[in-house]
Symmetry: C2
Subunit: 698 residues, 2 copies
């Protein structure tokens, strides 16, 4: 769907135009005029003849034809009637500025639904209500009361908070930062964040999509579309208002770790969305993405006229996991030829406190030629001889002449560097107030580059036994039993190619001993009850039992103690299982997010998982590469690779297990959450074993 | 030692005063004059009669008396001669601006030492060389070429980078931020960072000490003094240039984890120094510390005129571990009485987009009265009716009338809020460009308050057997043996009250079996060789051996395999020890930092320690409370408290062990590093056991 007419209409009607300064109806009308909107403007007001020299119309019908865009500013209660008029005369695009809808409660929500219904029936699309309006700089359209039309630029902004959009506009206008489209989406009663982001994606003037969101309407669709769009244009989002609902009822480890913002984090990670913590950060990032090329890799060179800031930048580069570039011999030779003897020709290149613009120009030119340099940071502190304007001009000139590598600047200070900063801004060189901010930005850009250059996603499908799983899942749903017990959970896993330990359920101490003898010592014993979910919490797990006596004692102790700890639990026996004597314990899990779907988890296993929280999440389905990425983003990964003489584990087998589990939870949306903990992995050749498992269905 | 005359001299001589604009000798002289320095200024220049209307002197001697402060700007090679003159005429305080000393290499270093020697002989104290000078706003002294004299304020700044100081001065002057003293310490050939910080501590106009440091001269003294001073005045430092030397040779876990910046982090933590990552952060923090009271606790209330920023602030408060205040019923009743019905009277308090200054004034006044509120953030976004100036005035007025709780502001935007921000700045209300920055600042302030309110440090001394330790340490030092083997390391620990497992060294498989039978199964066996430090790396550790056969097999396998893995290792036998069958594994350790002394470590034990890095560090000696703080600042602590039905461990016993170890490393500076890993701790009643230990002496 094209939103073309919201940004570039040939005619705009302002319903509720006012001649009274300070009124929203006056602000929007005059903003359209001040912005030199090239189309026709129809003020609609039944009490005025003319406003600001424009002929007024008593109502929409009296215009005589349908305006391409209608902006409604009248009180909430009359908005349904205005929307009816829009439908009647064939208007297709409407912005409802008016507040007093969903955000004020039940009454408003009803009104809002009524308006949406009228619009839907009449094929009208609308933005709002309760919004600030729309701006499109390239179309000279300022249909908002947020502020003056900004200069043209590559960043478009979508905001769920009108006030924030106004503040951002003010900031951009004050600093001369260019923008393309700005949309205040208000209550999203019709067009939502994704519609607008898609429109921005389709817009050739938009290079970067930035936004502030409090909620996402269709999580699944959003995730998919955001991933596609991020591949072309970076999306920088502030997401506020973490929801902790959903997670509270979780009974699995995965569920309790997946609470709060984890799903959003996972969606953003998968979709390549850059998450920003503050408006300052978002401005920092947008500057770099919109105005500078992307780097090939992370090797950074620094040019400075003072030692201190150079060291601070080097520290920040190390802290942020970027690489400090090693300059080539040729580069150093060239630098040494022209720079003063006291200058440092190694990275960070110190052109010294008395450097004029020419030294900066020369050094930047030489360093950009170095094949071992992917990005350059230019630092300047105001010193006695510093030419801040000329230096800025030189940086702009060289960066433009060698446009394949990003150049970021950090002029430190205020009034003494202000004019230089203006030159940088106009020359599209991102300027940061501290080296830390510049490096933080580059790190985010590098991460985006890495995300974008990952291979195409191919999700592998394994042959599995769905019939077996169908049976278990259906039985539980039929009986309205939420929890699938350990044995059947393991049956499901086996159907998806997982190995589980040998074992059987014993109903007496003697029975337990005979099972143990059959499968061989050592064994593990676990209480077997549909009512006991965390067995170790009630003393229902004994490991390393090595003799008949130990097995019998364990059985009887559980029978004696557990009914006291959890009275009323229906105890069906004790599971006696072969104990694996080697391998490392990890946890695999899934929690189904109500908005985004199955969230896979991997981490260090055992009872410590919720303490150490060394886990990673990813939205299913996952590819082999993504499964490995999940492994690598934990500290546990180092342990899996082998430490201190220990043999490493079979990483491929572990990644395959994650993929198999991903397939299971995609094919069975009924499975709400699951844990395999511990999942025992060993060196290549040893089949990993799902030692314990639990699932719930819904 | 008083540095009074560096800040408030009655007379200043400028040796190297120049009449040529742009020259440092001109800049400093004119800065003194422009700053309206109330004392006498003597320009010293043998080629001019008068500069800027002031009579010139051909040399220091011709002044006829000793100026209280002498500033030297002449080239490096003549500085020794000038210093001689200073000595001769009785000058006591000198600032050497001149560069070309230590920072340019060997030759310069020699010159620098010569100057220092002359000064020392003549009882002259000096700042520099290679610095920017000194500023004291309250004394109207601008003896620098960094920029104009700033307005008076509570923050003093010390910088090891002159350029950075100039940038900071520029920023402060542009934003009207007040400062007290600024000192560029240059090469620190005489007065160092601690001397200056002590002078700032003694200065009644300084409320906050801020600084940029690349190195610290006397680590031990610095740590002690900084701790004392932080108790009175917050110290905010940027420390750059992390040293990774020292750590590279480490052979212990503690040593390899203690590398890089850990020692600085530990010193800063212990001393209450607030570490800043960037100048922006430092400005943010300094504003709050210098201009607002400290909060009693961390319960924050937010007042806003827009929902979005309110939510962002709430998110930030949660992210930063502060508490979101719950407003009292009385507060809510009062708010409801006067605010419009649509306003949110719960935290964050939304006074709505059409709020004028009076609504902010009212809400702030009411909220500050609430006993459940420790600090208030006031957010403002520029909207149609917003009164940014009047609102700022109202905030200042109320904050001044109720000066017991901190009030921070965040006016979001630029030109539309600029005038309001100026009012805030003059009214000493810290203003932040994003809610994130405001909350980050408050977190740091709250941490400082917690640090400052900790009880007085009392280090407990335990009765120990020093004679036993003396013997072992001396023997190793005499024989120039760096590593103390496991058995003797355990002897030392026993002398300090630690329990170790029963055991003995076996020299044959049969001997091993008989030791095992004597102490009882299960046992642990460890290779016994002075050459093998990480036993598990070579397969030299076997645990859980439960029979004579297992013990004999383990012995013979080690004898067969280990010489192959580490040929030439002098194998003395195998240690057979009682295996503890319960308890949790932690690590205790110490690494002696060359600058700051013994750095204690606590963390999760076992071979995973270097992977998980869940460790905490603290400078010895530690008190009981600090030992517990070390425990609490790891994730492992939750495990120690007991998870999932597990019994917790004896925290007091563990804290005592840390204190005992702290006593050992304080009493034996010869001990360079040590690990107790694992240190086995169990529930109250079980004596913790040092299962394995290693130490090295020097």
């Amino acid at each position: 769907m094209s939103l073309e007419k919201f940004f570039n209409p040939s005619s705009v009607a302002v319903v509720g135009a006012s001649q009274q300064k300070g009124k929203v109806g006056y602000e929007i009308l005059t903003n359209l005029i001040k912005g030199e909107f090239p189309g026709v403007i129809y003020p609609v007001n039944n009490k005025a003849e003319k406003i600001e020299g424009l002929k007024c119309y008593p109502d929409l019908a009296s215009i005589g034809k349908a305006p391409e865009l209608v902006i409604i500013i009248l009180p909430a209660k009359v908005v349904p009637a205005i929307m009816e008029q829009c439908v009647k005369i064939g208007v297709k695009s409407v912005i409802i500025i008016t507040a007093g809808f969903k955000e004020v409660g039940e009454e408003g929500l009803k009104l809002e639904k009524q308006v949406a219904q009228i619009a839907r029936r009449g094929n009208v699309r609308f933005i709002g209500p309760n919004c600030l309006g729309v701006i499109s700089t390239y179309d000279k359209l300022n249909a908002s009361f947020g502020g003056d039309l900004p200069v043209e630029g590559g960043t478009s902004y979508i905001s769920q908070s009108g006030a924030l959009l106004a503040a951002i506009l003010d900031k951009a206008n004050a600093q001369g930062i260019g923008l393309s489209k700005l949309v205040s989406i208000g209550n999203k009663a019709d067009l939502n964040e994704l519609d607008i982001i898609q429109a921005m994606d389709a817009d050739p003037t938009t290079k970067v999509i930035a936004g502030y969101l409090e909620s996402i309407e269709d999580g699944n669709l959003f995730a998919r579309e955001a991933e596609r769009i991020s591949g072309r244009k970076p999306i920088l989002l502030i997401k506020s208002g973490g929801t902790t609902a959903g997670a509270q009822a979780a009974s699995s480890h995965t569920g309790s770790l997946a609470g709060g913002e984890t799903a959003y984090e996972a969606v953003f990670k998968k979709s390549g969305i850059v998450r920003c913590k503050s408006i300052t950060q978002q401005f920092n990032y947008a500057q770099a993405f919109a105005n500078q090329p992307l780097p090939n890799a992370a090797r950074v060179a620094v040019i400075t006229n003072a030692g201190g800031p150079g060291i601070m930048t080097a520290d920040a580069i190390e802290d942020h996991g970027l690489d400090f570039a090693t300059l080539g011999e040729d580069t150093k030779r060239r630098l040494a030829e022209k720079l003063p003897a006291a200058a440092n020709i190694n990275n960070p290149i110190d052109v010294l406190g008395d450097a004029l613009a020419d030294r900066y120009e020369f050094a930047l030119d030489v360093v950009l030629d170095d094949d071992g340099v992917d990005a350059v940071m230019v630092l300047l502190t105001p010193q006695a001889m510093t030419q801040e304007i000329e230096t800025a001009q030189a940086i702009v000139k060289i960066a433009q002449s060698k446009p394949n590598k990003p150049v970021y600047a950090c002029f430190i200070g205020a009034s003494k560097v202000e004019k230089g900063i203006n030159v940088l801004q106009q020359g599209k060189i991102p300027q940061y107030s501290s080296p830390e901010d510049a490096v933080d930005t580059l790190q985010v850009v590098v991460e985006y580059v890495r995300w974008r250059s990952k291979p195409k996603r191919v999700v592998k499908l394994f042959p599995v036994n769905r019939r077996k799983v169908d049976k278990i899942v259906e039985k539980h749903l039929r009986d309205a039993r939420r929890e699938i017990g350990e044995m059947e959970a393991k049956d499901i896993l086996e159907a998806y190619g997982f190995a589980t330990p040998q074992g059987a359920i014993a109903t007496s101490a003697e029975h337990a001993a005979s099972i143990a003898q059959q499968i061989g010592f050592p064994v593990v014993m676990k209480i077997w009850s549909p009512d006991i979910i965390h067995k170790s919490d009630v003393g229902g797990v004994k490991v390393g039992l090595r003799s008949i006596t130990e097995v019998q004692d364990a059985f009887d102790l559980m029978m004696y103690r557990i009914p006291k700890k959890q009275p009323g639990a229906n105890i069906l026996g004790v599971l006696v299982e072969k104990m694996a004597t080697s391998g490392k314990e990890v946890i695999l899990g899934m929690n189904r997010d109500p908005r985004f779907g199955p969230l896979m988890m991997f981490g260090m296993g055992g009872t410590m998982v919720e303490v150490l929280k060394d886990v990673s999440f990813y939205l299913a389905p996952v590819t082999a590469e993504e499964a490995k990425q999940m492994l690598r983003s934990t500290k546990t990964y180092q342990m899996l690779e082998g430490v201190r003489g220990d043999e490493g584990v079979d990483i491929d087998a572990l990644a395959e297990a994650i993929q198999r589990l991903s397939q299971l939870v995609i094919e069975y949306p009924q499975i709400k959450e699951l844990d395999i903990n511990p999942f025992l992995v060993g060196p290549a050749g040893m089949t990993p074993i799902a030692v314990d498992a639990r699932m719930s269905v819904e």
